[in-house]
Symmetry: C2
Subunit: 319 residues, 2 copies
């Protein structure tokens, strides 16, 4: 019997849920979406998703060609298939994987976004062929997916890999983080972390900088990048500060799982060498000598528009 | 065919190499030892070890009853079976696992001491039945063995799990560590780390303390324990300082692999609740809310005299 050639990938966000049909080479053959918040009842959500999905699935040959569904879901638990306590979703505790499996008639596995991203990179992206790497997603928050021996690390409860909430700055000097702790990596390397760093550095210097012309409360890493490209010293200082904190943390992560590479995805990576150089320097300055200059720092090579669907879909190919 | 009932465990130290015959319940049936440094040639070492081993093996029924050999070896690489660059050994680069396999006629696997300790706890000790835990060994140095999904994490190169060299104190304030870095956990939680903490705290206070009567350069955690038991406030302060730093690091380790428990072994654990209480407090104060008060802190329950041989032997049972 020929193996089924396609999988479905679902990227469930607080606003939109995007579903795509994906082949083994990582091409998204078709995609569709529904509004996540339009369905206060989870069964209505699953039915609406199925109704949309079946249109694009039929267009590629029908459900008989679909091996399974992988879903990247806020607070998704790989072990239990439950979504529990996700703040941005309408449902508080639902057996999502089971509901999807029942409705679609093919197996559904779920995980959180960062673990899905790691699966995506391993299956189709920058980590193809690697068995040990760490994925870091730099967005509104900082997420991580850790791959050891070809498998995502889920830990005892399914929630392993929260490296955004390791401590970058100890004690009272640490910035407050959304999680309630202080000094987490996320408070420095997320989009809001970079914006805060920009604000602090601009306020602390009298140097000329084009960034001073912008709304100080709305500065993005893109603004800082544009300034750096024009030779703006303050912009470079912002990347150096951010990259140093991130690189120091990576050095500790290496001591944990001895990865072949760190793969980064998200907003900050668009700043290219401006962020990569200080990250690599701090990582190598702070890592044990046995790993110095031996661990690659890579950026995702998945198209941004496809990455989340691809990552989720990667779960569905199975071991 | 009846399964072979015994394994050999080798604990290779810089001074002594101890080898024991071990059964499946973790009883050391017989043991012997040779001087590690007496054999500048590795073949002579392996031959001498075999000659001693065969005596105790014959006493329990002969090599036909031995399933294999596990060895805990400084700088031992599980993947390659090589010992490379171990400072305290006479040999700089030797295919130790292969030499042992050839001489003894049964498979030999090697790993480093801390990973062996983790295997020992999982097979015979405090972590029996656990699939996700982190072993921390507190001795001259601070070592670690990380178990994910029932397997020790070796990483890309075989050297994963160097948590003693994650950064506990950032920047110039960090104590110099033997590895060349500053602020490593090992510089605070090892035997010399505790001695240094004692020295610093005693020098910084005018409080009465029995520790002031001791040779300030030779204080051990046992001395500090004895003082704490007598109600010595300075001794308690030393444990609080050490336990807080260790507990903070554990919180970050939990964010990595979401273990069911942290298992600790070595000198400091003999101080019982004096060290455990501040460790648990700092760990729970600094961990993400989802793991607060959910991760056990355990001490090894293997007899100290047997632990290293047992840990090594656990490797030989296979998957």
């Amino acid at each position: 019997m020929q193996k089924k050639p396609y999988v479905l990938g679902l990227d469930m966000g607080g606003t939109n849920s995007v579903l795509g049909v994906v082949d083994a080479r990582g091409h998204v053959l078709a995609r569709t979406s529904i509004k996540t918040q339009a369905y206060p009842n989870i069964n209505d959500y699953v039915n609406a998703l199925y109704d949309e999905a079946i249109k694009i699935v039929d267009a590629v040959g029908g459900m008989d060609l679909i091996r399974g569904i992988g879903a990247g879901v806020p607070n998704g638990n790989y072990y239990t298939g439950m979504i529990e306590g996700a703040m941005n979703l309408p449902w508080q505790s639902v057996p999502f994987a089971q509901l999807m499996t029942d409705r679609f008639g093919v197996p559904c596995k779920i995980t959180n976004d960062a673990n899905a991203a790691a699966m995506g990179e391993m299956t189709y992206g920058a980590a193809r062929g690697m068995k040990n790497f760490i994925m870091i997603t730099l967005g509104t928050g900082v997420g991580s997916g850790i791959v050891v021996d070809g498998k995502v690390v889920y830990g005892h409860d399914g929630f392993a890999g929260e490296l955004g909430h390791t401590c970058a700055v100890r004690g009272e000097a640490g910035r407050p983080c959304n999680c309630g702790k202080k000094g987490c990596l996320e408070a420095y390397a997320s989009a809001t972390g970079v914006a805060r760093t920009a604000k602090e550095i601009i306020a602390s210097t009298t140097k000329k900088t084009v960034l001073r012309n912008l709304d100080i409360d709305a500065i993005t890493s893109k603004d800082v990048f544009d300034a750096a490209e024009q030779g703006d010293e303050v912009a470079k200082q912002i990347f150096d500060y951010t990259g140093t904190i991130l690189g120091q943390q990576l050095a500790d992560f290496i001591a944990f799982s001895a990865p072949e590479a760190i793969v980064m995805f998200g907003g900050l990576t668009k700043s290219g060498h401006w962020i990569k150089d200080p990250v690599e320097k701090a990582m190598n300055d702070n890592v044990l000598p046995l790993w110095r200059n031996k661990v690659q720092v890579l950026f995702s090579d998945l198209k941004e528009a496809d990455a989340a669907v691809l990552g989720a879909s990667a779960l569905a190919w199975g071991d």
